[in-house]
C-alpha cells in the first residue's frame, strides 16, 4: 500500500510481453505500476536466442553469411555488409569500385525502409490504426521487389560476398532503383503531413522518454537515438568506410532527445539517404563486382583478429572475428545496436505512464533477432 494521506493506492505488477501486441517481437517488460505511472521497469530478453555466434564457429566463413540475414531481419543487406567488411579487413581483400557503390545503394535503401517502418510501428503504438505503417509498407514493398530482382530473396538477401557482391546490377535493375528513389521525396512529404503537425502526436511524444546526452554517451548508445540526444556521431562520417566520403550528405543532430526528436531525426535521415542514393545511382562506375582473388570454396582467412563496424539503421553494428587461419572462424561476435540501446529503457520510462513506456520502446526501434542473436 503506497500513497499516504486519505487515498491508498496499490501497486500493480504487470508483465508486458513476451506475448504482447506492441513489443516488436518476443520481448518482455516487467513493469511495476502505481496507478498508471511506471515505478519500476525490468526488460527481459532472450526468448529469441538462436546461438548464432556458436553456430558460426562451426560453419565456414561463407556459411555464416546467410545467418547474418537473420540477425536484424529488417536490414539484411547492412548485416551482410558489416560481416563482409570484417572478413575483408582480416583477409586484406580489396573491393572493386562498382561493388562499393552497389553496397552503398543497398545500405541506404535498407535505411529508408527501416526508418519508415520504425516510424510506422511507433505510430501504431500511439494508436493510429496502422495507417502510417501501411503507407510505409507500401514503399517498403517496392524496395523489397528491387532486392528480390537483384539478390533473389526479399528479406533474406544473402547478397554480399567477401570482396564484393554476388550479382551485378544490370541496366533494368538500375532503372528500377532510380524510379524507386524518385518516389521517396513525395512519400516523405505525405508522411510528414500526416504525422509531424498532428497535435495529438505532439502532445503524446514531446518531452516523453528524454535521454540526456551524458547518459547516451556513457551507455554507448548509437544511431538515431544518440543523435537525437545531441551526440553528433555517425560511423559513416567517422570511419568513412566504403565510398561514403565521395558523397555529400549531412547528419541531423537533435537537442532534447525525447521521442519526438527520435522521430524527427529518422525523418531527416531518410531525406539525407535519398540524397546519397541519387548521387550513388548517378555516378556508379562500370567494372567487376567481385575481387578477382576472392574464392568461394576453401576460402581461408589469415590468422589474427579484427573488428569492423558500419552505421546500420539502428546504430553501430560491428563484427569482431578471430581467425586461426583455417576455413572457419575461431571466435565470431556481433555488436548489436538494438541490444545496447535497450539498456537505458528503464531510465527513460521512469515517471511516465504505461502508455508512454510503450511509445518509448517503439522509439528505440528494436528487432529481437538482433537483440537476442
Amino acid at each position: 500500500m503506497s500513497g499516504s494521506g486519505l487515498i491508498q493506492t496499490q501497486r500493480l505488477e504487470v508483465s508486458l510481453g513476451p506475448q504482447h501486441p506492441s513489443t516488436h517481437g518476443v520481448f518482455r517488460m516487467d513493469v511495476v505500476l502505481d496507478g498508471e505511472y511506471v515505478v519500476k521497469l525490468k526488460p527481459v530478453m532472450g526468448y529469441l536466442h538462436r546461438n548464432h555466434e556458436q553456430i558460426a564457429e562451426k560453419l565456414t566463413w561463407l556459411g555464416s553469411m546467410p545467418y547474418t540475414d537473420r540477425l536484424d531481419y529488417f536490414c539484411s543487406m547492412t548485416n551482410n555488409w558489416a560481416y563482409a567488411l570484417a572478413v575483408e579487413k582480416l583477409a586484406g581483400l580489396k573491393v572493386p569500385e562498382r561493388a562499393e557503390y552497389i553496397r552503398v545503394i543497398m545500405a541506404e535503401l535498407t535505411r529508408l525502409l527501416n526508418h519508415s517502418c520504425a516510424i510506422g510501428f511507433l505510430l501504431s503504438d500511439c494508436g493510429a490504426w496502422f495507417t502510417p505503417v501501411l503507407y510505409a509498407l507500401r514503399e517498403r514493398e517496392r524496395i523489397l521487389d528491387f532486392f528480390e530482382t537483384v539478390s533473389g530473396a526479399r528479406m533474406m538477401c544473402n547478397y554480399m560476398r567477401f570482396g564484393g557482391v554476388r550479382v551485378d546490377l544490370d541496366e533494368t535493375a538500375l532503372a528500377m532503383a532510380r524510379r524507386l528513389v524518385a518516389r521517396w521525396p513525395s512519400f516523405l512529404d505525405e508522411f510528414e503531413k500526416l504525422i509531424t503537425g498532428n497535435e495529438v502526436l505532439l502532445a503524446r511524444m514531446q518531452r516523453v522518454g528524454i535521454l540526456p546526452r551524458e547518459l547516451a554517451i556513457n551507455a554507448s548508445i548509437s544511431g538515431p537515438m544518440a543523435r537525437a540526444s545531441g551526440v553528433a556521431y555517425d560511423v559513416r562520417k567517422v570511419d568513412k568506410y566504403g565510398v561514403y566520403d565521395r558523397f555529400e550528405f549531412r547528419v541531423p543532430v537533435g537537442e532534447t532527445g525525447d521521442t519526438y526528436d527520435r522521430y524527427m531525426i529518422r525523418i531527416l535521415e531518410m531525406r539525407e539517404s535519398v540524397k546519397i542514393l541519387q548521387q550513388a545511382l548517378r555516378d556508379i562506375p562500370g567494372g567487376p563486382v567481385i575481387a578477382p582473388e576472392a574464392r568461394l570454396r576453401g576460402f581461408k582467412v589469415p590468422a589474427g583478429d579484427g573488428y569492423a563496424r558500419i552505421e546500420a539503421p539502428k546504430g553501430e553494428l560491428g563484427f569482431y572475428l578471430v581467425s586461426e587461419g583455417g576455413t572457419k572462424p575461431y571466435r565470431y561476435h556481433v555488436r548489436p545496436p538494438s541490444f545496447i540501446n535497450l539498456t537505458v529503457l528503464e531510465d527513460m520510462c521512469l515517471g511516465h505512464k504505461i502508455a508512454d513506456a510503450i511509445i518509448i520502446l517503439g522509439s528505440v526501434d528494436i528487432v529481437l533477432g538482433e537483440v537476442d542473436r
Binding site: H20, D125, G127, A128, Y135, R204, G254, T256, M264, A355
Partner: protein, 384 residues
C-alpha cells in the same frame, strides 16, 4: 406507437383491445431492432472497407460479392467460437456485463425519430431519457473489467469509467443549448423546431460549437478513436473485453457499434434537423424521403467517426481528462450565454454576430489558457 394504436383501432379489424395495444407496442420494437441491426452489420462492413481503402488495400472482398457478407461471416464465427471464461473470473458479473453493454445502446433508440411520424416512443422528455440511459453503459464497462480479474482489463475498465463520466458533463451541457432553442425536451419537438430555411441548429454559431462539442463527447462516450483508451490495443491488450470470446465478445462489439450509431442518431436529431430536408412534406411518400434524409445524415456522422479512426492516434489518459475538464466544459458553459444573446437580441443578424463574437473570444481565450506547455518548435543542426 400511439399513432399505430389509433390506426389499428379504427381499422375495424376484429381485434380485442389488448391485442391491438400489444401489437402497437411490439411493431415499432421489431422495426427498430431489425432496422438498426442491419445498419450495424452494414456499418462494420463500411468501416472495414473504408479503413482498407484509406490504407491502400482493398478491404474484405472474399465473402459475398464485394465482401458484403463479411459481417455475417464474423457473426457466425463468433457464434461458433468457444466461450472461454477465465478461472478466477466472477462468473455472474462476467456473464451479465455484455448484456448490460447492449441494453443502453438500444434503449437510446426509443427516442430517435427515424422518419416523419415514425418514432418508437414519443416521450416528452425524449432527449433527457437518451442521455440518462447512455450513462448506464458506465456500469457495464466496469463490471466487464472488474469481473475478468485481469490487470489489463481492470486498467481498461478504470479508464473507461473515468472517460465516460468526465465526458458526460460537457455532452449534457451541449444538449442544453439545443433544448433552450427548441423549448421542449421531446425529440419530435426539437426536430420540428429546426424547420425553415437554414433552420438546422448547426447553422447557428452556438449550434456549430455545440455540434463539435457533442460529436467529440459522443466519440469519447463510445470510445472511438482518438479516445479509444478503454481498449487500447497497444497498451492494455484489449482493455475490458480482453477475457471475452465467442458470442459475448460479439455482444461487446455490437454494443459498441450500435452505441456509435445511436449517438450519431441523437446528434443528427439535435443538430442536423433529424428527418427534415427538402421533400419531406410530400403527401404520400413524404415519410420515405424523410427516412432517406435521416439515414443520409446518420451516414455523414458515422463517416466522420471512421475517418477519424483511420487517421488520428490515441490520446493519453491525463490529456483526455484534461481536454474534457479544461476545454470542453468551459466552452459549453460559455455557449449557453452565447445562445441567450442570439435568442433575446431583437434583430436576428445582430444576435448572430454577437454570439459568434462571444464564442470567438472564448475559443481564443481557452487555447491561450491551455497552451501552458505549448508544443515547442524544434530545430536540428546538421554536421556534414
Amino acid at each position: 406507437m400511439d399513432a399505430i394504436f389509433q390506426l389499428l383501432q379504427n381499422s375495424g379489424a376484429p381485434m380485442p383491445e389488448w391485442l391491438a395495444l400489444a401489437l402497437a407496442i411490439l411493431l415499432p420494437i421489431v422495426i427498430v431492432m431489425g432496422l438498426f441491426l442491419t445498419v450495424f452489420a452494414f456499418l462494420t462492413w463500411v468501416e472495414r472497407k473504408a479503413l482498407g481503402r484509406i490504407q491502400n488495400r482493398r478491404g474484405p472482398n472474399r465473402v459475398g460479392p464485394v465482401g458484403l457478407f463479411q459481417p455475417v461471416a464474423d457473426g457466425l464465427k463468433l457464434l461458433i467460437k468457444e466461450d472461454i471464461v477465465p478461472g478466477a473470473a466472477d462468473r455472474v458479473v462476467h456473464f451479465l456485463a455484455p448484456v448490460l453493454v447492449v441494453v443502453p445502446a438500444f434503449l437510446v433508440l426509443t427516442v430517435v425519430p427515424v422518419a416523419k411520424g415514425f418514432v418508437p416512443v414519443d416521450l416528452n422528455i425524449g432527449v433527457l431519457f437518451a442521455l440518462a440511459v447512455s450513462t448506464a453503459s458506465v456500469l457495464a464497462v466496469f463490471m466487464a473489467g472488474w469481473a475478468s480479474r485481469n490487470k489489463f482489463s481492470l486498467l481498461g475498465a478504470m479508464r473507461g469509467v473515468a472517460q465516460v463520466v468526465s465526458y458526460e458533463v460537457p455532452m449534457v451541457l451541449a444538449a442544453v443549448v439545443v433544448l433552450m432553442a427548441a423549448g421542449t425536451l421531446s425529440s419530435i419537438g426539437i426536430v420540428e423546431a429546426q424547420r425553415g430555411w437554414c433552420g438546422w441548429f448547426v447553422c447557428k454559431p452556438w449550434g456549430l460549437v455545440a455540434f463539435v462539442i457533442f460529436q467529440t463527447c459522443a466519440m469519447a462516450e463510445v470510445a472511438r478513436t482518438p479516445f479509444d483508451l478503454p481498449e487500447a490495443e497497444s497498451e492494455i491488450v484489449a482493455g475490458y473485453h480482453t477475457e471475452y470470446s465467442g458470442f459475448k465478445f460479439a455482444l461487446f462489439q455490437m454494443g459498441e457499434y450500435v452505441a456509435a450509431i445511436t449517438m450519431g442518431g441523437v446528434t443528427v436529431t439535435l443538430f442536423l434537423g433529424g428527418y427534415l430536408g427538402p421533400g419531406c412534406d410530400l403527401p404520400r411518400i413524404g415519410w420515405l424521403v424523410s427516412a432517406g434524409w435521416f439515414f443520409a445524415k446518420l451516414g455523414l456522422v458515422v463517416v466522420i467517426n471512421i475517418w477519424a479512426r483511420g487517421t488520428w492516434p490515441r490520446v493519453r489518459v491525463d490529456q483526455l481528462l484534461a481536454f474534457a475538464w479544461k476545454v470542453l466544459l468551459p466552452l459549453s458553459l460559455i455557449n449557453i450565454p452565447a445562445m441567450a444573446l442570439w435568442y433575446f437580441l431583437p434583430n436576428r443578424l445582430i444576435g448572430w454576430i454577437a454570439s459568434a463574437a462571444l464564442l470567438a473570444v472564448a475559443l481564443v481565450g481557452l487555447t491561450r489558457l491551455n497552451a501552458g506547455r505549448a508544443f515547442e518548435k524544434r530545430s536540428y543542426r546538421f554536421i556534414s
